[in-house]
Point group: C2
Chain length 170, copies 2
């Protein structure tokens, strides 16, 4: 089955992001607003306990981290995804690296760009209109993230949180 690791921000930020996703994100119904820490990976259900154990260890070795969002950005031309850019910080990078350096279900295919997706699945023309509009949004937000979540994907495409791990505890 397919697993992934993400961080979910506060309800306040999720609700704000959803206002845009509702109109612009083709994956709106499949997962609430999140920051991906490890992209989907394939593992047998029987490996779940080992995965959970590893994530618990990684979480214990990290601390809650303050994130800051200052602007809207895009992965264009690589992909027509528009997002709230989360400023990189050491703790996020270290969390990412612990899960994507090759010891744990493969390396990341892309450099780590922490973000909250607000639009995807549009045609090029739609993308340009929407990006023009969204890049005018003034966003300035800070909050502290204190946990990572292990998710698996149901057959209908929806991502279910299997378990959560608090940073700096355990």
């Amino acid at each position: 089955m397919k697993f992934g690791v993400a961080m979910f921000p506060s309800k306040e930020l999720q609700d704000k992001v959803n206002q845009y996703r509702k109109r612009y994100d083709a994956h709106y119904a499949l997962i609430p607003p999140h920051i991906t820490i490890k992209d989907r990976f394939e593992a047998d259900e029987s490996e779940k306990d080992e995965i959970a154990k590893y994530l618990k260890e990684v979480a214990k070795k990290h601390q809650p981290t303050e994130i800051e969002i200052k602007k809207v950005s895009s992965f264009s031309p690589n992909s027509l995804v528009i997002y709230f850019k989360v400023e990189k910080n050491e703790e996020l990078q270290s969390l990412h690296d612990a899960l994507n350096s090759g010891d744990f279900y493969g390396e990341n295919k892309h450099p780590f760009v922490p973000h909250l997706t607000i639009a995807q699945g549009q045609t090029t023309q739609e993308y340009e209109d929407i990006f023009g509009h969204l890049s005018m949004i003034g966003i300035q937000h800070k909050e502290t993230l204190d946990r990572i979540s292990l998710l698996y994907q149901l057959e209908n495409g929806v991502w279910q949180v299997y378990e959560t791990y608090r940073l700096g505890e355990g």
Copy 2:
């Protein structure tokens, strides 16, 4: 904001339940298949840490529990909800009671009937047709549940897992 406490079964059982929910459950898109342990309750976001602490304590005092499903049932005439009935057991009842006896955001309004909803939101005529059909399903399923999940509801109605607590640990 609105909180709730639920247990999520295995992906296998969730996928099976979703085959029916997809057609018959008006709440299909808002939450994956689950067993409600405490109905939605209102609390301020600032109470989240206290709620989490309480749930961790409750989880620690309980053990993983084997559930069994043997039939389809319904809450009719009280409500037109059709569900897979989860046989009651002491551990489930004790978990429920710890969260619904009045010390923790009020008592339960109904007796505890553990279940996985498969249909709701139909008219009486639709309900009767669907119940006639679904009550013929042969279901026989056992599995062990090992954690409870604290959820909150986003403005769009979707329930987000905030944190999970393993039974018998902590």
